[in-house]
């Protein structure tokens, strides 16, 4: 008997496209369904369902697709990793889209859904313990639409997991991705020569190498554990260490001004993120990766420093060469 297929949503996203490619290689293209408005690369040869999660009625389309394709597991990666000015669209995709997806998955008898989530949802605050475990309540800044929609997506996941005991729901909270070819607001900030930092603060960052993120996503599909799991790199890195490793100039902004300045730059289209993101440059939101080890058998191969060095090798090859020379 042919095993049931795996569907991946958000296959134009960084993680989604990579996961799609990996699954197509491992399980064969005929076993993989891409759910996205954009078609995946033709040479992959995977099945494609053009469904817009933001459209009313997309739940029915999803239900039909899951039934017709005989989908047994879904990896839901249709999220915006970067904050958007168009918050209405983000809300429709992330909160309502996830609701539609879970409704269709539950009705179609899909056995397992993996939700891609973010450790940033814990919120950055001085009250955080040095390591956030999965049972820690999620308290992102309420003014951040970026986090609010993702938080709602997690709440939908929890509610469906409770109502449908046959549906296994895994929530993968990934640390911010950083590394070759990643494009998010972290890399956008590091692409500039001058990196704004909050004066007098140097939080520990967890920067996840894309290879580790991919390995964890695969392991989640394979083992299908229930509940939330943090996926984090081996060790964190202080923000300023990352800035100086990449040979950037830190521009310290006093924290009462950082929020205003961030909002000003964001509304004028110059900055990569709204002012409330300054929380993440003041306080750590370091998550504990022990549960991933236990339940996914996932041990990160890279530390945050490795992720920064990998990004440098990709983005600033000359600097990487001179660093290698200095080591030798």
């Amino acid at each position: 008997m042919r095993p049931r297929r795996v569907a991946v949503t958000g296959t134009s996203s960084f993680l989604g496209s990579r996961l799609l490619r990996r699954l197509a290689e491992k399980q064969g293209p005929a076993q993989v369904v891409a759910v996205d408005v954009a078609a995946p690369a033709r040479n992959l040869g995977v099945r494609h369902r053009e469904i817009d999660l933001t459209r009313p009625g997309s739940d029915q389309e999803l239900l039909d697709a899951f039934r017709e394709e005989d989908v047994g597991a879904v990896f839901h990666a249709a999220f915006f990793t970067n904050p958007r000015r168009d918050t209405g669209l983000a809300h429709e995709l992330e909160s309502i889209g996830t609701l539609n997806l879970f409704a269709a998955a539950a009705a179609a008898g899909v056995g397992h859904v993996v939700l891609r989530s973010f450790t940033a949802l814990y919120g950055a605050s001085g009250q955080n313990p040095a390591f956030l475990t999965e049972d820690r309540p999620l308290h992102p800044d309420p003014s951040l639409a970026w986090a609010r929609d993702k938080l709602e997506a997690e709440q939908h996941a929890v509610s469906f997991a409770r109502r449908y005991p046959d549906l296994r729901v895994t929530v993968l909270r990934l640390a911010p991705l950083f590394g070759p070819k990643v494009q998010n607001f972290y890399t956008a900030i590091f692409d500039r020569r001058i990196v704004p930092v909050v004066m007098g603060y140097d939080p520990l960052l967890q920067l996840l190498h894309p290879d580790d993120a991919l390995a964890a996503a695969e392991a989640a599909l394979e083992r299908a554990p229930r509940g939330a799991i943090n996926v984090v790199p081996k060790t964190p890195i202080p923000l300023l260490t990352a800035v100086h490793l990449a040979e950037k100039i830190p521009a310290p902004v006093p924290h009462p001004m950082a929020y205003l300045l961030g909002d000003l730059l964001w509304t004028t289209g110059l900055g990569p993120a709204p002012g409330a993101f300054a929380h993440y440059a003041r306080f750590g939101f370091v998550a504990d990766g022990e549960k991933a080890q236990r339940e996914l058998g996932f041990a990160p191969r890279y530390s945050s420093r490795d992720a920064v060095l990998a990004w440098i090798a990709y983005r600033k090859p000359r600097l990487a060469a001179s660093k290698a020379e200095a080591r030798a």
Binding site: G126, A130, F131, R193, L204, T235, P236, E247
Partner: protein
């Protein structure tokens, strides 16, 4: 042989000034030139930074290289400024988890640094002591990263328990803000020991408790009064008025050169009670009170011996 001063031209004569810049790969050449463009400034800054910071820290942000760099200053305070007498440091176990519990005083957390140095220098195993820092210090801009890099961790039960489970030596001040911010007239009177959280952590992890008494730190910043109204907008629980602060401005932050003693008592074993004992509030309170009594006794004995604040 005579050699007159000769003008050596920077660039071959006759070549137009702009010629180099117009080359598309001009940057590549500029990397070697000592010009002060942003790129070389960033490179210089990065070299300066990594001259005294390591590029990898532990999971709590402890940076051994940074600590080595700032150590001489604290050693000066330890040996010359405060002439610390460390007694009973050998009571700290050579390895494995242990919790040093101490009185807290002196407005600024100098006592934590000195306990750390006492263990680092006078203990045969040269152990590093991870101090648990109060929120008011661990979250203060500028001080927060310095504390983290030198091995301190924000005081909260999860952090303490995690470090003890890793077998580290942890230092804690259960009096908290009430201790470090007490007024001069209340000196050497131990405040309430929190709610016994440190006992619960020791019971859960089975780590022995080492009572520690610091004498001499109460007088370094004699707080005559506190300005709580000024502290609030600055995010501080208090701003003290001492004979030198705020009268002398930043100079008033220089601590007075009293003579200190740091005394550690024999470890109190906690593993006999079992981890479930942490849920027994009566036992927790009794143990907390016992540790508090031990430390108050050590302080009183030491004060009775002391003849001078300055000379010990």
């Amino acid at each position: 042989m005579t050699s007159a001063a000769k003008v050596v031209p920077f660039r071959p004569q006759g070549q137009p000034r702009r010629a180099r810049r117009r080359r598309p790969n001009a940057r590549r050449g500029a990397a070697a030139a000592p010009g002060l463009d942003l790129e070389s400034l960033a490179r210089l800054w990065s070299r300066f930074y990594f001259a005294w910071h390591s590029d990898e820290v532990d999971e709590f942000g402890y940076d051994p290289k940074f600590t080595e760099t700032v150590l001489p200053f604290f050693e000066f305070l330890y040996t010359v400024w405060w002439r610390v007498d460390a007694l009973g440091v050998e009571n700290v176990p050579r390895k494995g988890p242990a919790l040093i519990v101490s009185n807290h005083s002196g407005v600024l957390p100098w006592d934590g640094v000195m306990i750390n140095l006492a263990v680092r220098h006078e203990h045969p195993a040269r152990r590093a002591c991870r101090m648990l820092a109060l929120d008011m210090f661990a979250l203060l801009p500028f001080l927060a990263p310095l504390l983290a890099q030198s091995g301190a961790v924000r005081a909260n039960p999860e952090n303490a328990e995690r470090m003890l489970r890793k077998g580290e030596l942890v230092g804690v001040f259960p009096e908290g803000v009430k201790g470090v911010g007490k007024r001069f007239k209340d000196r050497y009177q131990l405040a309430r020991f929190g709610r016994g959280g440190f006992i619960r952590i020791a019971l859960r992890t089975g780590a022995p408790i080492i009572p520690c008494a610091v004498v001499g730190a109460e007088e370094i910043h004699p707080a005559l009064a506190k300005m709580n109204w000024l502290g609030k907008p600055l995010g501080l629980p208090y701003v003290p008025i001492t004979p030198t602060f705020p009268l002398l401005g930043p100079l008033g932050l220089v601590p007075l050169p009293t003579r200190w003693s740091i005394e550690m008592a024999e470890p109190i074993p906690m593993d006999a009670y079992g981890p479930d004992a942490a849920d027994d509030p009566m036992l927790v309170n009794r143990l907390a009170e016992r540790v508090r009594g031990t430390i108050q006794g050590m302080i009183d004995a030491r004060l009775a011996q002391r003849r001078s604040i300055w000379l010990g």
